[in-house]
Subunit: 385 residues, 2 copies
């Protein structure tokens, strides 16, 4: 029977089951603080947490994880064989553990495997799925988590700083940016940024360095020569290798002289972004913030929608939660969400018009009781000096 | 009703549904060749493939994906609202599309969301789960895929080469490796390796540079000063940014003079690895290869199992499939698998004894009809010259 319950909350006495690889699944990493490339089993019941680990990871899990009991998967596998199951699978092993605990009802994440879920239900267990945020506490950052994100953010700002120096030192030749005889491209500048981040033990992937009309597609990573007098979007969102927390910042800059229409576009996005930041605090509905920014843009004549067969204007959300995942709850968008103290969100409105250019400006902020704390300190300017 | 069918095969006429982010889910990337951080919808029916994309990704998906039809999610969302659903969710939107196609039975991956699966089944759709390999063809690499992995492998070999030069140039002082006044550590050497890989547009994470007793835990990444006269395991497995394919190689080296017991351990692992490679070809059962290596080790007196409360000997599989995922089917292990032409697998036996040291040697090979093609060309030696 499909079983869902919107009111499910997880606390230390809940019965929780997860099976996932912690490299890609932040919930199992959050619960275990154990990093492994292959899926493993996490259970929580009667106030105790458990890992069932294969022989290869057993000792490392005991040494490194935050979990109270690390048990050998092979022990339950052997028991299942003794009980007459020729080739026991994951569901047989889990079933044995669940019976041993005399617990038949478990909360699993929404993304729990349908195949494993089917098998466990067939063996008589009840699984209740819970949507994100699976662990409510994950959305409310501790001071240690905020510090980890601030540390990653410092790496981002240093990396952007040294990268913009390249653009500052470049000359403009035939409308392109040339440094020491080489034409700067999205690729070469991204390489510089990503290497600078790796020097600070941060892994960046899909860093956006996107110029002109390319940047009008907000997720286009950019390619080819950077051009003078056109806006260049830098969107930088690495993960810290040390803490696994992310930072996320976007700046839009230009080498040369900005056309008036682009200057006005930049000023409008900046006005909208500052308006958004000024409204972020506990108890405010993110939907209102998003609408207020949209309204601010519309008042200046910047419409959003399908124009000449492509999306133009402000056609993405205002921001997203960030932490162990680059995108995690909550969203600041047209959907309702009442902000809570401790959430870390981005505020990143943008405007995109192929005949003018693209501008996006993004800071990462911590929601507090009466305002927000901006974790980003990098200055905002369009034209490079 | 739990529905599973071990005989399911996917061909171009199958009805396939996936909902996942292609950054972390290789199957949806394999089918769409579209890279996006957030989950999106892939469907395949009656020989045509579809993406349902949000407005933000619509244009980019049309330009970049391999999929025949890229449709706006918002169109179906609007239709659902017209049909009286106040806040249509993913299952409502999918349901509309499925009804439009008059197809009620779909194959989904084993890791399909239990919550979404429950919702779709409640709406009357049949979902059959299929285990890995979801797409049979993904395990059988094309020449283009092999070329991508060979390209990543060249980056790995170049990076290790320049890294071992650091060790060659280092002096031994008080048993440690010192280069230009700095003591070499797992961390500093890993940093050098990872930066060299990034220079070649490869992203390395969790590269293992592990010395002495640390390396006796095969997934320990290593930390602290590297010591002379002890074995150091380098296990390097980056992803190419350009192609998203992986390479994977392990070498065990030593600076200084190897104790006889360690030399003998090294020679035994090398003998086992070469034995394994010599047996890889179409039609051979991986289980036999694994057993033969284990037997070779046992004949020389190297036992495997729990010794003094920790796993010692050869306590992991012989190898794994590799491609878009670092670990993917098939495995060469104690489980049955008959090798097929076109599979790319690692052959990486190891022996781990805290009182002697750790040795693992790994190549990546392509299964062919009468033998295997070794995609690794890096030499194998214990003592650095």
């Amino acid at each position: 029977m499909p079983a869902q319950d919107e009111t499910l909350k997880i606390d230390k006495n809940s019965n929780v089951l997860m099976v996932a690889g912690s490299e890609t699944d932040a919930n199992i990493y959050y619960a275990s603080h154990f990093l492994a490339p292959d899926p493993f089993i996490y259970l929580q019941t009667k106030g105790t947490s458990y890992l069932l680990m294969n022989d290869l990871e057993l000792d490392r899990a005991r040494a490194q994880s935050d979990v109270a009991q690390v048990l050998p998967y092979s022990k339950y596998e052997a028991e299942a064989k003794t009980a007459g199951i020729e080739s026991p699978g994951l569901s047989d092993v889990l079933s044995l553990f669940m019976l041993e605990q005399s617990v038949s009802q478990w909360i699993v994440p929404a993304n729990f495997s349908l195949r494993l879920g089917d098998a466990l239900r067939k063996q008589g267990h009840t699984l209740l799925t819970k949507d994100e945020p699976f662990f409510e506490a994950r959305a409310l950052k501790t001071e240690t988590e905020v510090e980890a994100m601030r540390e990653a953010q410092i790496a981002v700002e240093d990396a952007l700083d040294s990268t913009l120096d390249l653009l500052r030192c470049a000359e403009i030749k035939d409308g392109l940016l040339v440094l020491e005889g080489e034409t700067l491209t999205s690729q070469s500048v991204r390489r510089h940024l990503d290497l600078a981040l790796m020097e600070k033990d941060c892994i960046a992937q899909h860093t956006i360095v996107s110029c002109g009309v390319d940047a009008c597609d907000p997720h286009n990573e950019g390619s080819g020569p950077l051009r003078a007098h056109e806006s260049i979007i830098f969107d930088i969102f690495p993960r810290s290798n040390k803490t696994r927390y992310h930072a996320d910042m976007t700046r839009t800059v230009l080498k040369g002289k900005a056309p008036d229409a682009l200057k006005r576009l930049y000023d409008t996005v900046l006005e909208g972004q500052l308006l958004g930041i000024s409204q972020v605090k506990k108890g405010v509905n993110g939907r209102e913030i998003h609408q207020n920014i949209m309204h601010c843009f519309e008042k200046k004549g910047y419409k959003t929608g399908l124009i000449d067969g492509r999306m133009q204007g402000f056609f993405h959300g205002t921001g997203h939660g960030i932490g162990l995942d680059i995108h995690e709850p909550p969203r600041i968008s047209k959907a309702d969400h009442v902000l809570q103290t401790g959430e870390v969100v981005t505020v990143e409105p943008g405007l995109y018009y192929p005949n003018i250019g693209a501008v996006r400006i993004e800071d990462m902020v911590l929601v507090e009781d009466t305002a927000c704390r901006n974790l980003t300190t990098y200055p905002k300017f369009l034209e490079l000096d």
